[in-house]
């Protein structure tokens, strides 16, 4: 079962906006999960990001990333763990999925996010996301778009705040 090391989101200035951090642990692996709101007041950047996802991105949409805490602290982002620490167990992947879902649920509740964007930088992560997102939490996520952007590695999770008129009809 995942351990949630954070009891609160840590908020910190990131450009003109605020980013959020939440830490968790699975087995002996500590992770950091980060949410950064997509900038919508830079027209060129907004157009670029909107083109990728296929709709005009409104405020309160977040890029979501996670990494091992060791990588975050060292700046060696997304480096795989040493071979002796790698887990191939299905249980590890299930617990990781559980942690990500729990933290997104908390974030959605705290910040009323309209959408979350994620990118799978590896085939392994893409397989993981594809599997997990077959059954998204329907009380939070009402629409999942996959295979977006370069190499079809982008994901969009629209929440019930994205399109309030669909809110009621899309709850599980």
């Amino acid at each position: 079962m995942p351990s949630y090391l954070s009891k609160s989101f840590l908020e910190f200035p990131h450009g003109a906006l605020t980013a959020h951090r939440f830490d968790f642990r699975i087995e002996q692996h500590d992770f950091v999960m980060l949410f950064s709101e997509v900038i919508v007041n830079d027209p060129d950047y907004h157009a670029y990001r909107s083109e990728e996802v296929g709709f005009s991105i409104p405020p309160a949409c977040y890029d979501v990333k996670f990494d091992r805490l060791e990588n975050f602290n060292s700046g060696n982002f997304y480096a795989p763990p040493p071979a002796e620490l790698r887990s191939r167990k299905r249980r590890f992947a299930d617990e990781l999925a559980e942690a990500l879902e729990t933290i997104i649920r908390l974030h959605h509740k705290a910040y009323r996010a309209r959408a979350y964007f994620a990118i799978a930088e590896t085939e392994k992560l893409k397989r993981f996301y594809d599997r997990v997102l077959q059954h998204p939490p329907r009380d939070v996520i009402y629409e999942v778009n996959i295979a977006l952007g370069e190499g079809g590695r982008g994901y969009v999770l629209k929440t019930r705040y994205f399109n309030p008129e669909k809110n009621d009809s899309c709850r599980a």
């Binding site: 009891k7 840590l10 910190f12 200035p13 980013a19 900038i39 990494d67 700046g75 997304y78 190499g151």
Partner: protein
Amino acid sequence: MCLKHDISTLKKMTVAERKAEAMRQLKESFDLAERSGTLRLRKAKAG
């Protein structure tokens, strides 16, 4: 601090490079907030 996004540079990057660069910027912002005492907490209990 103002984040500037150079679209032509972003388009030349691979997915992995873009993601790592975004994480680098986040770490920079986090570290700066830690040093300057601008970290804030928003309660969220995960059980």
